[in-house]
């Protein structure tokens, strides 16, 4: 039988540190492995998701080019609410410009940023708007998402369709409560105000830059 020496404080500390280090290595390895293994599948479903999203704002019959490849980079702009470069997709039919699909951010939602995707027709009118990301109160401000909207026939977010920057005034482009044109649900007006403002600014951006955007390589 061997007699164990009582461990020294330094010995204990080193032993504990080594064990913790081994655990960190093993589990970081596990994470890295899972990440690399699932990466191709995740990227594929992200692209598919993107197409599905674009389908909601712009029907596939409207254009005949390969939308995900006909892109133009938009620099960060306060009108888009973007803090870094975003990508816009240009829809064309028979070579003629049809619509621009772009992302916009409403920075002043009730609970942080609300991210939007929208399609603006060549004539300046809105083809469709969808919310892609938000943290608005569930059951209250989340009616900006059509699938959470109780009004299934005419979801709130579709009321922008057909309106354009040039054909309306700033005054009309507000919730009814503020003397404007758009509906809102009582008790949750911060959310629609933010979305309405962001859509207005984004259409302004397109109206101002349309020619360059379609011409850019």
């Amino acid at each position: 039988m061997t007699k164990h020496k009582p461990p020294t404080a330094v010995g204990m500390a080193v032993r504990t540190a080594v064990i913790l280090f081994v655990f960190v290595i093993v589990f970081t390895g596990l994470l890295a492995g899972a990440y690399l293994w699932t990466k191709p599948a995740l990227e594929a479903s992200a692209a598919e998701e993107k197409m599905k999203l674009i389908d909601e704002v712009l029907p596939r019959t409207a254009y005949d080019n390969e939308l995900l490849k006909d892109t133009v980079a938009l620099p960060a702009s306060p009108l888009l609410g973007s803090e870094e470069e975003t990508v816009a997709y240009r829809a064309r039919k028979g070579g003629q410009p049809v619509a621009l699909v772009l992302e916009a951010v409403a920075p002043d939602g009730y609970a942080g940023k609300i991210r939007l995707i929208m399609a603006v027709n060549f004539d300046g009118s809105i083809a469709g708007v969808r919310v892609t990301q938000h943290k608005e109160t569930p059951g209250l401000g989340d009616y900006i998402e059509p699938r959470k909207d109780k009004n299934k026939e005419r979801p709130w977010i579709t009321q922008f369709n057909g309106y354009g920057y040039a054909s309306t005034t700033d005054k009309e482009w507000k919730v009814k409560k503020d003397g404007g044109h758009f509906d809102s649900v009582a008790g949750a007006t911060v959310t629609p105000r933010a979305v309405i403002k962001a859509v207005r600014k984004a259409t302004k951006y397109v109206a101002e830059n349309q020619t360059q955007l379609y011409a850019a390589k």
Binding site: T16, I19, F23, L30, L31, A41, L42, P138, G139, L140
Partner: protein, 227 residues
């Protein structure tokens, strides 16, 4: 294997006696945020069951290698890594299910229920018992959140099972109160969750207290007749 009596005790602990929401009062943050309707509450609980079972079995299997002094950082490491792996695998392989359940998984990483069960149970018990503990703690959470979510939804909006069409596209939510029911905003907002959770805790305590007084009465009677 496991004895019947032990199984019963673990199940009873998880579902009623040590109910995470009503007795341990853990994980309130996701509870408040998510139980605006019944379907969300159930979905969060299902995701929690999966994560808790996995975290418990992992910690229980490794428990003899984890020095006591650094157990908490190691537990956090194990739980966070496992949850992230589950999240990635779900997203890659079961994408449809992920769309429904996935948003709840990150909510669980920071959930103290998982760490609490790992520390209180899995660190001291074998893997099988620990898995069962994780599952039944989750089941306890499931019924509590289902009731809480159902109540909030019913009082707040007059509906039940709203959002079920996201899980089963063929099903429709029920409109229980008349369609012109104005709704009670308080029930949907976080204070409503606190109030209703408080009511549920009071209800559970009332049942327990009644059971205790009954037992005492029986005991007193037995004593009296015995004399």
């Amino acid at each position: 294997m496991i004895e019947r009596e032990e199984f019963r005790s673990i199940a009873h602990n998880g579902i009623w006696k040590q109910n995470t929401s009503l007795i341990q009062i853990l994980g309130l943050c996701p509870l408040l945020a998510v139980t605006t309707n019944m379907v969300n509450g159930v979905m969060l609980s299902l995701a929690t069951i999966i994560v808790m079972a996995l975290a418990n079995v992992a910690v229980a299997s490794l428990r003899n290698f984890i020095p006591h002094e650094i157990r908490i950082p190691v537990f956090i490491l194990i739980v966070a890594a496992l949850v992230t792996v589950v999240d990635l695998l779900f997203n890659a392989n079961l994408h449809e299910l992920y769309l429904v359940l996935g948003i709840f998984i990150p909510l669980i990483v920071t959930n103290c229920i998982v760490l609490a069960r790992v520390e209180a149970f899995a660190a001291k018990n074998p893997p099988l018992q620990s898995t069962l503990d994780g599952i039944f703690m989750g089941v306890g959470m499931l019924w509590t959140l289902a009731v809480l979510g159902g109540l909030r939804e019913l009082i707040g909006a007059g509906t039940l099972f709203s959002g079920i069409d996201l899980v089963f596209p063929s099903l429709q939510p029920l409109q229980l109160l008349p369609a012109d029911y104005p709704g009670l905003l308080l029930a949907i907002l976080p204070p409503g969750a606190f109030i209703l959770l408080g009511c549920m805790i009071a209800w559970k305590n009332w049942i327990e207290a009644r059971a205790t007084t009954r037992q005492e009465k029986v005991a007193v009677k037995a004593l009296a007749t015995g004399n």
